[in-house]
């Protein structure tokens, strides 16, 4: 397909494309369409690449889009042409020397955006000027500098991005930033948060990750509130750690600051999806006031000292154990050259007897194997049952209450910190660096309410009101 061929027919394939060509109509043409189902008048829009090949999309004067099936079209008459040009007007972000300076690093996705109502396209807003236009409250908090590092959806973010981010954070701290905000898609935000927790140790200023569960083009979006809270936490907050800042409840009430190694996305779509597991969150944020919840956290410092270790060995994997797992799976991973395996085991940290030989072969091949829990809450405790004791015999190292994804990220980082030194890797993995394992689990560190139980419904009736 030539470039000109594609141009003008965005997303269209045959048979619709042939119909368009026959009548000399392209995308952005204003057309009068005669069809076997009646006449329609509207603007030809680009078609989504994933939609079928049979329909032409028109935006009618009423604003509605409709699809006309190609074989119902008897005639298209072009009556005009109106190409959309997406542009967001910029207003200069006000500068105030008395306010802290915050750097916003973009990784992709949209933190803020505007709508092109004519076509319905969502236009991301990112530069300070663009952001000022859509979230003007930011100018009351800080002097904002923005930098787009990558343009990736969350699921495509990986080790190379962790490394680039960690380095850039180190530079920003050295450059005098009072706080750093990282805009990130929510799906893997907790992986990146964990990675940065290990790569950027003891930061003197807050490093706050933020995203949105409802896209910013909708009036009910959580994006603006999240961004305002995150920016405030970065510029004015007193906690200097790698954190995630997202909605507390589903209501527009307060945000929570979660420690980067204990946070996990727990629901596919609700606003309150990010939860601290096995512990309490670091703090609540509401109306520009930070209320600490956790007893211990690292305070903001005036110095610029930070330990940046931006390395990652990609030869790590995570195996989610299931009953009847076969040893050949582990063998295959070892044969493929992986250097580290994190197992998400059942119960207190168990796998079945069948895979024992494979675990032994892995150890002999120099592959480091660690045990975490698919229960997510609680500690690995491999001495309680014989199974656990047997597994320990094969050199599998328990990782207390470290979350499986955190263990995966830490192992990749640890293997790169100590190449070819399984002993040092084991030491590093079992040493708590950023709260990834806790000494104790408070009684309210595990809370998964059961709806329908009278006492819980009563509680919800009170707190959800």
């Amino acid at each position: 397909m030539s470039a000109t061929d594609k141009h003008g027919y965005e997303g269209y394939r045959d048979p619709t494309k042939s119909v368009m060509k026959r009548f000399g109509v392209t995308v952005w043409s204003q057309v009068q369409a005669e069809t076997t189902r009646g006449p329609f008048h509207g603007l030809v829009l680009p078609r989504s690449e994933t939609s079928d090949a049979d329909h032409l999309v028109l935006k009618l004067g009423s604003g509605y889009n409709v699809g006309l099936r190609a074989d119902t079209i008897t005639k298209l008459t072009k009556t005009g042409y109106k190409q959309a040009h997406y542009k967001i007007p910029e207003e200069e972000f006000p500068s105030d020397p008395s306010k802290p300076s915050v750097i916003l690093l973009g990784t992709g996705g949209t933190i803020a955006s505007r709508l092109d109502y004519r076509t319905g396209a969502v236009i991301p807003a990112f530069s300070p000027g663009e952001l000022y236009g859509s979230v003007p409250e930011l100018s009351e908090i800080c002097n904002l500098q923005t930098e787009k590092l990558f343009g990736e959806f969350s699921e495509n973010i990986g080790p190379t991005h962790y490394i680039a981010l960690a380095k850039r954070i180190g530079e920003a701290i050295a450059g005098g930033a009072d706080g750093i905000v990282i805009g990130h898609g929510t799906d893997t935000m907790h992986h990146t948060a964990a990675a940065l927790s290990f790569m950027v140790q003891r930061p003197p200023v807050p490093v706050v990750m933020v995203g949105s569960q409802r896209s910013s083009d909708r009036p009910s979006s959580d994006a603006a509130r999240n961004l305002i809270h995150a920016t405030w936490a970065a510029g004015c907050g007193s906690i200097a750690e790698v954190m995630v800042c997202m909605f507390g409840p589903t209501s527009d009430r307060y945000n929570l600051l979660h420690r980067g190694t204990r946070v996990r996305k727990m629901h596919s779509s609700t606003r309150s999806t990010f939860r601290t597991l096995g512990d309490v969150p670091l703090a609540m944020l509401q109306d520009r006031e930070l209320t600490p919840i956790h007893a211990t956290w690292n305070k903001r410092r005036d110095d610029r000292d930070v330990d940046v270790h931006a390395v990652f060995d990609e030869r790590v994997t995570i195996l989610y154990y299931y009953p009847n797992m076969q040893p050949d799976l582990i063998d295959a991973v070892v044969d493929a050259g992986y250097k580290g395996i994190v197992i998400a085991g059942t119960g207190l940290g168990h796998v079945n007897r069948k895979v024992y030989p494979a675990l032994e072969r892995a150890r002999n091949a120099g592959v480091s194997v660690f045990m975490t829990l698919q229960t997510l809450w609680g500690f690995v405790q491999m001495h309680v049952y014989e199974t656990g004791r047997e597994i320990l015999e094969f050199g599998v190292v328990p990782l207390a209450n470290m979350l499986p994804e955190v263990a995966y990220v830490k192992l990749g980082w640890a293997l790169a910190m100590h190449p070819d030194d399984p002993g040092a890797v084991k030491d590093l993995m079992t040493t708590t660096l950023a709260g990834e394992m806790t000494e104790r689990e408070p009684h309210d560190g595990y809370l998964v309410f059961q709806g329908g139980v009278p006492e819980i419904d009563e509680l919800l009736g009170r707190i959800w009101s």
Binding site: S51, L115, P219, L460, W464
Partner: protein, 669 residues
């Protein structure tokens, strides 16, 4: 609806048209006013589930299991401008509370879960109704998001999809002639919004049980040229939707938005009119509100008032950045006027606004019993969200002492020709209110602002919000397009349209007016089920159903079949000539009120035996002689009464017989 369509095609306002109450104007008068009305009729569909989730449809719950708090932020258009409506809603800075019950709402309605595939049952019903309207169907459904920032939908937009457009239906009930047609612009399938529970100050509360229910919105062209036609058009649309048999009935199941303009004005939308009965008075009053606002404009232009005189910057505190506003707390602190005292004791900011050139115009009438001051006050109420009445004072005789009023006017350097209003509230609210007063005053130079207005039962309308712009629609990226294939459309039954049905009834012997009424009545099905064969039976049955329609449901239950069961012997007997059509209605009524066996009841209405008839004729013959002093007409009537009180026979036949056998004649015969 595009902006171009919003303006009335006629630009010459009939400013000298006399003020008239509803009921005093002919359709020619409305033509002179340039009265135009279009309808947007919303009708809930009878489906098992909601449109985009699997919650049960049609559950009305009073229970509140939890509440969710949200806010709405406007999103910018490509030009960097907020939609006027969006901006207004944002200015109100509302806290929106959603009350939810587990039985009727899931995380979808709370905007915490993306939509599930669109309910196909609802799509099918929508398509079948679109076909009743004769609309051109789209071949692929695209779900769009239509922005609503008033909080009535937690997402901030309504999911809606175009089903079809471009239809024309016969509008025989029109007072402008039975050959009128009504054009249908479009029919869309969309999710219903929340029910408002309360709206006080900065907090608005909604119940969510209705949220997400499938409904269709049918939009007409502005083809309704009188208030009465608007109501009749509404009834017609409702009847067509009902004739599908797949729509919900009962309170709130059907609501309409009524668009009105007159020559020289623009479309104003009266939203959520609960009954067609309200429409004539509402649209009449609204037309005259337009006329009055256009007259106000003429007066302002005559006084050379222009927008620059009323301008105020969008930023900063009004009393600091405009000569038209003063912070009046210290000026009014000695006032003896109660509301001012209350405001002072609450710590409110009190401010006064000058409207240059508006002297005496706050009292300019707009609607029956309502003045221009009220238009301003409503804007203040809705946008600045004050909580204590009065929200605004626009004249000294409201109760403000003369000294205070003089001081306020003097602080503003207000002259004879200027109007002044006093406002109060929390500082931010007072600032919003002052700005809004000036913005509304600016709008009066345009004439009729584009607004969405609420209907009141008395026939007046009140400001609800700025009319949303047309550019608030964008695709719903959460739902894939849904092809409407031919095979699917073909399998959807299209029932008879009401006018086709009426034609059939006329052919069966029912007079045209009754046929029209019966065709749109819920008992049309009963008529069809009974299918009388004789034209005289058909006519009598149609009349009886129309007349006794209200009692039918109560007496015979909602089921057509059971009602038909009860009435069938009567129809058959009448068709066969065993019961005179003359007694049809009386027998019909007895079948409703008397629960005895139908045959026994019908026996009372069968013609009496020849012997009985003859016997009674003989008695009358003997007695009629005694009435020699009476007129022939009186004697005939007396004789008829006598006979019919004891025997059952066709009155026309009896009359013939009396005339023939007793030589009774009418006067002059």
């Amino acid at each position: 609806m595009s902006v171009a369509l919003d303006a009335n095609p006629r630009t010459d306002p009939p400013l000298d048209f006399p003020d008239r109450e509803f009921g005093e104007l002919s359709h020619q008068d409305y033509a002179e006013l340039g009265f135009l009305c279009g309808l947007e009729v919303h009708q809930q569909l009878l489906t098992d589930r909601k449109l985009f989730c699997r919650c049960p449809a049609g559950i009305r719950s009073q229970q509140v299991d939890a509440e969710v708090l949200r806010h709405m932020r406007p999103t910018l258009s490509e030009l960097g401008e907020y939609d006027g409506c969006a901006l207004m809603e944002y200015k109100t800075r509302k806290e929106i509370i959603y009350q939810l019950a587990r039985s009727s709402v899931c995380t979808y309605e709370m905007d915490d879960t993306p939509p599930f595939p669109i309910d196909e049952q609802a799509v099918q019903v929508a398509i079948s109704i679109a076909r009743l309207f004769g609309l051109d169907l789209v071949s692929e459904l695209h779900v769009m998001r239509k922005q609503y920032l008033d909080g009535s939908i937690p997402t901030g937009f309504q999911r809606t999809a175009m089903i079809g457009g471009g239809g024309t239906i016969p509008f025989r009930a029109s007072e402008l002639g039975s050959d009128r047609m009504l054009r249908i612009r479009q029919l869309t399938l969309e999710e219903d919004s929340c029910r408002e529970v309360s709206d006080v100050g900065h907090r608005i509360t909604f119940r969510t049980d209705r949220l997400g229910m499938p409904l269709i919105e049918t939009v007409t062209e502005p083809d309704l040229l009188t208030p009465l036609d608007a109501a009749r058009g509404n009834r017609l649309l409702a009847a067509i939707a009902r004739s599908s048999g797949k729509v919900r009935r009962g309170p709130g199941a059907a609501r309409q938005d009524v668009n009105v303009s007159i020559a020289g004005s623009r479309r104003v939308e009266i939203k959520g009119v609960p009954s067609w009965r309200w429409i004539p008075r509402l649209t009449h009053n609204e037309a005259f509100r337009h006329l009055n606002l256009l007259r106000l404009r003429r007066e302002l232009l005559a006084r050379s008032v222009n927008a620059a005189h009323l301008a105020i910057s969008a930023k900063g505190l009004p009393w600091e950045c405009s000569d038209l506003v003063v912070e009046a707390s210290s000026i009014v602190r000695r006032s003896s006027f109660g509301p001012i005292w209350d405001a002072i004791s609450r710590g409110d900011t009190i401010c006064a606004v000058k409207l240059p050139g508006f002297g005496g115009l706050l009292e300019h009438p707009t609607q029956p019993g309502v003045t221009f001051a009220h238009e301003i006050e409503e804007r203040v109420r809705v946008i600045a969200c004050p909580t204590t009445r009065p929200f605004m004072i626009g004249r000294a005789d409201y109760g403000v002492d003369a000294a205070t009023w003089r001081a306020v006017r003097s602080a503003l350097r207000a002259g004879e020709g200027d109007a002044v209003v006093l406002l109060w509230g929390a500082p931010e609210d007072a600032a919003t209110a002052a700005r809004e007063v000036l913005l509304r005053a600016q709008d009066s130079l345009v004439g009729v602002p584009s607004e969405t207005r609420q209907a009141s039962a008395g026939g007046n309308t009140g400001f609800e919000r700025i009319l949303p712009g047309p550019e608030r629609m964008y695709p719903d990226t959460d739902t894939p397009p849904l092809p409407i294939v031919d095979a699917w459309v073909d399998t959807i039954d299209v029932v008879e349209r009401p006018w086709e049905r009426a034609d059939r009834y006329v052919a069966a012997g029912v007079p045209a007016a009754a046929a029209e009424e019966l065709a749109t009545s819920p008992w049309a099905e009963l008529f069809d089920d009974l299918s009388p064969s004789a034209p005289s039976t058909a006519r009598r049955l149609a009349f009886a159903i129309i007349k006794r329609g209200h009692g039918l449901r109560a007496r015979l239950g909602a089921e057509t079949a059971s009602a038909a069961e009860r009435l069938r012997p009567l129809v058959e007997a009448t068709d066969a000539g065993r019961i005179s059509p003359h007694w049809f209605e009386a027998a019909f009524y007895e079948l409703l009120v008397d629960s005895g066996p139908a045959e026994h009841i019908l026996d009372r209405w069968r013609p009496s035996s020849d012997d009985c008839q003859q016997q009674e004729m003989d008695v009358v013959r003997a007695n009629v002689a005694k009435l020699s002093g009476k007129s022939a007409d009186a004697r005939l009537r007396w004789a008829m009464g006598q006979v019919l009180s004891t025997v059952t026979m066709d009155p026309l036949q009896l009359r013939d017989r009396l005339v023939r056998e007793l030589a009774l004649t009418e006067d002059g015969a």
